[in-house]
């Protein structure tokens, strides 16, 4: 079965549906599936629920789907530095389910691993715990969090082989691995697709079993907070 597609639009063909749940990789603007996001924008798919740590910035990343009002609900841990996100949330136009960052990552990992729920101390005694089952383990109170299984995962890697084995680069790995794992279908965009057999099997970060469709493309890779030091 061929996993390599010619474009983001081709890779998403027949996959997108109004109202679907999408898990997206990336942290801030680092390692975001920017080409697939653009393609979803162009496809006009709406009423989306998106599980993603952040929501891009106003004109880049998932922010473009906010501006076009294609997102109904976000499941995120951090929305600071995104004016449109905060505006839509505070005005009630956008539903927002806050998740502690580690809980969000583990919910994705668990969903992909066939684990429907797990207990954690994170969030006990906060609004996050409201309405969730509490249980004590060894004298510590924990809450039950559910695994996430997404209709679609969109992720971004560095290199992949034609079999879908993916390698990430530096901190651009972040949510891409757990997001990929929790998708019923996972579409992955990379900077370079190499022939099967040319990646070291010991160095694969995301085995091809999790990746159903692949595209290669040019990435803008915008920097959110360019911070430097002076030459000594």
């Amino acid at each position: 079965m061929k996993k390599v597609y010619s474009s983001a639009a081709a890779a998403l063909d027949g996959v997108l549906k109004d109202g679907m749940l999408i898990a997206a990789g990336g942290f801030g603007l680092c390692g975001i599936p920017e080409l697939l996001i653009k393609a979803i924008h162009e496809a006009g798919t709406k009423d989306l629920t998106i599980a993603s740590n952040n929501c891009g910035v106003d004109d880049f990343g998932l922010g473009i789907l906010l501006s076009s009002r294609q997102i109904r609900k976000m499941m995120s841990s951090y929305v600071g530095e995104n004016a449109e996100f905060m505006r839509q949330y505070l005005s009630g136009e956008l539903e927002l389910e806050f998740n502690p960052q580690g809980t969000l990552a583990e919910r994705m990992r668990a969903g992909g691993a066939g684990i429907p729920g797990f207990y954690t101390r994170t969030g006990v005694g906060t609004v996050i715990a409201e309405g969730k089952e509490h249980k004590d383990f060894d004298g510590e109170t924990c809450i039950l969090e559910r695994g996430i299984v997404a209709d679609l995962a969109i992720v971004k890697g560095w290199k992949a082989d034609e079999s879908g084995n993916v390698v990430f680069r530096k901190t651009a790995r972040n949510f891409n691995v757990p997001a990929a794992k929790c998708g019923r279908i996972c579409v992955c965009e990379v900077e370079e697709i190499v022939p099967t057999g040319s990646l070291d099997p010991d160095h694969i970060h995301l085995p091809g079993i999790y990746v159903h469709r692949l595209i290669q493309g040019e990435h803008e890779k915008r920097i959110e907070q360019r911070t430097t030091r002076k030459e000594a």
Partner: protein, 209 residues
């Protein structure tokens, strides 16, 4: 007189012990990295998937694939390791990180911490803070003693939505250092030029002798 941001960071750096893995929050806590005492080797964890954070890059060497949890460009070190977000929080939740140094909007005398939202006004999100305070060995808060209106941020009870319940061990502000103990806060140290009376008068929380 009181400590400025850098002096607060330098004081917080004295909390670090050799061999520790530590997570530094955004803001003043990030500055702590500049004051790690000589002979103390600590490895900084960034919750977006990195152990061993190096200094900011020289101009022209910024890498969009290499950022810290504050989304700033950073560099790596010979001992650096990268991993995904679920692995990152497995080590946080699993108690492998010895200490987190975090900023705060409010801290209460029972160790409650609020640092993620002002209802109806400003919503930032908790990011990894709820996971950190629930998982790491020791939580140190570094913040200004008062808010912009001059009101104490060191309170009897937090008024803002909590990040964690009874999680803070030590508070470092521009006025001094306080520990969360039975019955309230204990003054550990006064900032340069700050008197005991001044610190007490600026603090809403109960200070125990």
């Amino acid at each position: 007189m009181a400590w400025d941001r850098n002096q607060m960071a330098a004081r917080a750096a004295k909390e670090l012990q050799d061999g520790w893995y530590v997570n530094l929050g955004i803001g003043i806590p990030t500055l702590v990295a500049n004051y790690i005492p000589e002979g103390v080797e600590v490895t900084l964890q960034s919750e977006n998937g990195m152990l061993g954070i190096g200094p900011f890059p020289y101009e022209g060497a910024e890498d969009p694939d290499l950022i810290n949890a504050g989304k700033q460009t950073v560099t790596d070190l010979p001992q650096t390791a990268y991993f995904d977000s679920s692995e990152s929080f497995a080590m946080i939740r699993g108690g492998k990180i010895a200490m987190a140094i975090l900023g705060a909007m409010e801290v209460a005398e029972n160790g409650d911490l609020a640092n993620w939202m002002f209802p109806g006004k400003l919503v930032k999100g908790m990011g990894g803070a709820m996971d950190l305070v629930a998982g790491v060995g020791r939580v140190v808060v570094v913040m200004d003693h008062a808010n912009k209106a001059g009101e104490s941020k060191v309170l009897k009870r937090c008024t803002l939505p909590l990040t964690g319940q009874k999680v803070v061990d030590r508070i470092i502000t521009n006025l001094g250092v306080m520990d969360v103990v039975e019955g309230g806060l204990r003054i550990v140290e006064l900032a340069e030029g700050v008197s005991d009376e001044e610190l007490r008068a600026s603090t809403e929380a109960t200070i125990v002798a």
